[in-house]
């Protein structure tokens, strides 16, 4: 394809895209206006039906729990895929960072970075735990909480060394936690089926006070397990990539 022809194809595609975009924008409802009945209905009944004041979580883990199950397995499959693709191959060896820069050592982590990472690790852990276990009362949830939990482990890497990171999150344990987190979601759904209810229906007591931490039955439980799964998946992905960055491909 000559550059000239390519430019014409690009311009034609551009014009088409712009036309469709303008047409699509014209059909949108006005800014801040919600035309559908579904959201209004959910807003009216969600708190009464589930006792969860975090309505977003109620939608994610109850009304559309099946969607979320699929989403969770996307992350699960991604982590499994990365672990498979980045496995140690024959002819690859672990290299210390030292021999990468001939004649000088790797500059040590500065005290400032080390201190800050140490100071932030605890709060990140508490914050992640809080977010993952309070989906029923706040707009948080297992996903956000899980990622924050994972950053706590990454801070350990920043504060110390890769070795410390691996000691605090050994791959076998991380794998197991990820599998338990992902499996528990499906298991909770199947438990409802075993009781003669439909898949993922809420079979636990909803509590009496809407917005209490112990309220909302399976919503809180599922969110917690999603938190475990997401935290483990992110720790796994980051540790695999760290491993790769330190790995030297054998030259022979």
């Amino acid at each position: 394809m000559t550059p000239r022809l390519r430019r014409w194809v690009f311009l034609a595609a551009m014009a088409g895209l712009a036309a469709f975009y303008a047409w699509g924008l014209r059909g949108l409802p006005g800014f801040g206006r919600y035309p559908g009945p579904y959201g209004d209905i959910i807003n009216r009944i969600a708190v009464r039906q589930t006792n969860a004041t975090g309505v977003v979580s109620a939608i994610n883990f109850e009304y559309r729990g099946f969607d979320t199950l699929g989403e969770e397995f996307i992350l699960f499959a991604a982590a499994a895929g990365i672990a498979t693709v980045l496995r140690r191959l024959r002819g690859e060896r672990e290299g210390s960072a030292r021999d990468e820069a001939a004649g000088r050592d790797v500059p040590p982590t500065s005290d400032a970075v080390r201190q800050l990472a140490l100071i932030l690790t605890g709060p990140a852990l508490v914050m992640g735990w809080y977010l993952a276990s309070h989906a029923q009362t706040s707009p948080s949830g297992g996903f956000q909480g899980g990622v924050v939990l994972a950053t706590a482990f990454i801070l350990i890497y920043l504060a110390g060394q890769f070795i410390a990171f691996e000691r605090f999150s050994p791959v076998d344990v991380t794998d197991a936690v990820e599998a338990v987190g992902a499996g528990a979601f499906a298991a909770i759904g199947l438990a409802a089926v075993a009781m003669g209810l439909s898949f993922l229906s809420n079979f636990l007591g909803l509590g009496t006070v809407p917005g209490a931490v112990s309220s909302s039955g399976t919503i809180a439980l599922i969110s917690f397990f999603v938190g475990l799964e997401v935290a483990a998946a992110f720790v796994l992905i980051v540790s695999e990539l760290l491993d790769q960055a330190l790995l030297v491909r054998g030259s022979r």
């Binding site: 801040g32 209004d40 807003n43 009216r44 977003v56 979580s57 990468e100 001939a102 977010l131 707009p139 948080s140 949830g141 996903f143 956000q144 990622v147 924050v148 994972a150 950053t151 990454i154 992110f234 992905i237 980051v238 990539l241 760290l242 790769q244 960055a245 030297v248 491909r249 030259s251």
Partner: protein, 111 residues
């Protein structure tokens, strides 16, 4: 907005006046547009990752201004922290590979 939704709105000491909210939203939209342009225009990969992280932060603020605190939390953790981290790790790997390649080349020349 339906009347029932109006009564749901809670006024607290932290409630931003309605007019100010519009200004905040517009300002954040402009900042996000500028941020996205800055990401594209930054050429050095490492710097681009840092700018991308700042852009993630702006996006998180935008979601907060449009009343989506759950998306804000996701964007804050994934867009501003984890994604730049993964990219930096990828860059470190690529650089290691390049340096090894150079050294192997030197070794071959010495032979």
């Amino acid at each position: 907005m339906t009347p029932s939704a109006m009564t749901l709105a809670v006024v607290s000491p932290y409630t931003v006046p309605a007019g100010l909210m519009g200004v905040l939203q517009a300002a954040l939209l402009v900042l996000v547009a500028l941020g996205a342009t800055a990401v594209v225009l930054t050429r050095t990969p490492v710097r681009q990752v840092i700018v991308l992280s700042v852009y993630g932060l702006l996006l998180a603020l935008l979601f907060l201004a449009f009343q989506a605190p759950d998306v804000t939390l996701s964007e804050l953790t994934v867009g501003a922290v984890v994604l730049p981290l993964l990219l930096l790790l990828g860059l470190a790997k690529v650089r290691n590979g390049e340096r090894n390649g150079e050294r192997n080349g030197e070794r071959n020349r010495e032979k």
